[in-house]
Symmetry: C3
Subunit: 315 residues, 3 copies
């Protein structure tokens, strides 16, 4: 099968990935990452390759996940952690000029984080070096979407017949939107949107899901659906993007994952979170084996990025 | 020939470089960089070597150019991108102490960016590790000067008999000063300084050039000289150093490179810019083959730094 | 001998290290670092290993010392120099969550700098990856303590029978506290605390030293003890922690190391300083062979960290 899907080798948005590619290419290769004992010389398949991580806004976790993936393969990293403040961006340079300049420094891949929606697509349109979108404002964060579906697949062996409760700030959360796009490609999906009325999932996603046969429903009380789902996907309130509500104001509803929610959940379920977690998951939950946001989900992120780097740089 | 010119192995100022060294050592080696296919193990001649990039003020492009050069040779980089804010500089340490400390961490080369003129020379005077000046305030940026002359040489095969229009903020632009120093070493050079009266090239450079037989003239209208030059060297207004003028105020003159300038230029000319570009070159110009500021000139920077690192660390 | 002392392989506080481990394990291995010619392939014992340096507050010198140690061994570094400003810390994430996440990115060691006392111990309590404390607020900086005792040992061949004057801001200086802990493990130690009354060494350390048979005395005049000591350990006033006094106000005492102090000192003594130095050592002193703060002491830091990394990652 040809994995040169639309846009390849750039990775820009969740909509790029077909179900076929996800199941036949992405899942098997990522699964393989788990078996690879790191640091063996035989694994240094990207020895001599160079990644530029160019971040216009802070995201240490995402940056580290990409850079550690590169280091585990034996590659090198040239990085800036706040291009918006430090680089010639402050002198007025456009993203387009910056991307063209970075191209001529001859990196093998550029991982880009930018505050404006569409910036990664713009970069890809002029770059001869593969661009990986590590988040473009309220736009996309496609490798997060891939690691999320991989995390579910790794647990259940399939993405069909899965029920998911997406909880919290669904209006401004980028990850729930991308995850919805990908889940729409699978069968017998049921999604419960759990949010206060001030932070509902936007209409475009709901229409997309309905068009793709996903059964969706909305509620403001996580307790009503916690016993029905395989996955609780909790999210942080995006205060920096304007949402704000008191999670503990039970006039608004019930949105916090705590021991009482654990009691309702089915035994085989999982609790996910794109991190950072603030107070929307009580720390009392952390030691429950279903809580995988700080463990398996993070490691899936590393494996996802290792797999993508291998596909792009050493296919 | 001995390339241990004045100050070697430190690289501090454009005046260090003789015409002989530039033509017999620097140009051939840098030209050779173009042929080297990167990532081959046989090219990892700096494997095990370590560069410190110590930047007191932001300059992501320059830092990346040095670091990418080091990575292409297989070396390592230990870096800070804002030493002025983050390091013990804020606790009151002098540059001299900092350089002595860095020496004892046993790097192979230190690339220094500092806001004060003369800081690189001070560092070199006490450092047993080679210092490369990556810009010292209103002082020098010698590797920029080298990459600029190399870019011209690469295009025309010589630096003799070249006519250059230097345009914009010539008073505070560091690059046009250094480039003037180097051009003064060649024959039959003609330089047109194109600037508003508030941003004229300073007297010291004009006197130096006249002493070295360079024909210079001044104008405030790029249209008058665009058809006479091999090189238009456009610059950004250094607002952070106090210059400011409205480029589009035609009472001051004509300084913007746009399609009307392209129409005047001779076919074989080139347009250069040290970057970042703001609005002094209209983006409509970018696709013209003579516009090499975002392409060949950037790549010449990479090759220049690769060549210098080889000369210093693996001669 | 088993070097898996209390807490190993985490390095959290000076109290961890026994006299036996310091003398039989740490000193010989660190001494060996001096002999190792760097960059030989045979020394790349950490090739393929990855260090994360996670710094919540700026400390370029400490960070560079660790990273250069890692590079000299052939390892890789994934770093942030201001996690407090840039990372998800600003979004409200706890240190505990951050450490768990970093663990799943599979580094080989995490070097942590954090502003809160006890943070390194907290990190170590949950991390399956070795944590090295690179300073936790007013708490500890154990590798500084180790490099300090190693510097003394390297000069005198022993730590017994040593007299030390600790000078300056003893109240808020972290390094004099840690050094006191380690000196308390040796015999016939004499410590002179030299400070103004507003910056005296705290009682807990004085009680600890007395319990361990160290002879201590306090004065506000360095001239009275300069001729009695093997080591003058000068410190910077920790203005950022609230201490402030005019070093040149001789109503408070005499605390500055200058030529007049050099005249009093015995020939074989040394002057140390944890750096950065501001004005508490006059630069006229720098060229005296007894002044080793910018030279041998810094290099001891590199060797100490190289030795610790070898012990932890390639024992």
């Amino acid at each position: 099968m040809d994995n040169k899907f639309d846009g390849w080798p750039h990775i820009i948005k969740a909509q790029q990935f077909s179900r076929e590619w996800i199941e036949k290419e992405f899942f098997p290769l990522t699964k393989n990452m788990e078996k690879i004992s790191k640091n063996g010389l035989e694994n240094r398949i990207l020895f001599g390759k160079i990644m530029i991580t160019f971040f216009y806004e802070p995201s240490t976790r995402t940056r580290f996940s990409f850079e550690m993936a590169m280091f585990h393969w034996g590659g090198q990293v040239c990085q800036t952690e706040n291009a918006g403040e430090f680089s010639s961006a402050v002198k007025g340079e456009t993203l387009k000029d910056t991307i063209l300049v970075l191209n001529r420094l001859r990196p093998d891949v550029i991982v880009l984080r930018h505050h404006e929606e569409g910036s990664a697509a713009l970069a890809a349109s002029i770059s001869s070096v593969p661009i990986i979108n590590a988040g473009d404002g309220i736009g996309q964060h496609p490798t997060q979407a891939l690691l999320d579906v991989y995390t579910i697949y790794k647990k259940f062996g399939t993405l069909d017949d899965i029920s998911v409760a997406m909880v919290g700030d669904l209006m401004n959360g980028r990850t729930v939107r991308s995850l919805s796009y990908l889940l729409g490609k699978f069968k017998n999906i049921r999604i419960y949107f759990v949010s206060p009325s001030c932070a509902r999932m936007k209409t475009d996603i709901k229409e997309y899901l309905e068009k793709h046969g996903v059964v969706i429903s909305e509620t403001n009380d996580l307790r009503l659906v916690a016993n029905k789902v395989n996955v609780i996907y909790q999210t942080r309130t995006q205060k920096e993007r304007g949402t704000n509500f008191d999670k503990n104001d039970h006039n608004l509803g019930y949105f916090v994952v705590d021991n009482s929610i654990l009691d309702l959940m089915i035994k085989d379920a999982i609790i996910m979170h794109p991190l950072p977690r603030v107070d929307e998951i009580n720390t009392e939950v952390d030691k429950d084996p279903r809580a995988i946001y700080l463990t398996d989900q993070v490691e899936s992120g590393l494996h996802t990025r290792m797999a993508l780097l291998k596909m792009i740089l050493a296919p």
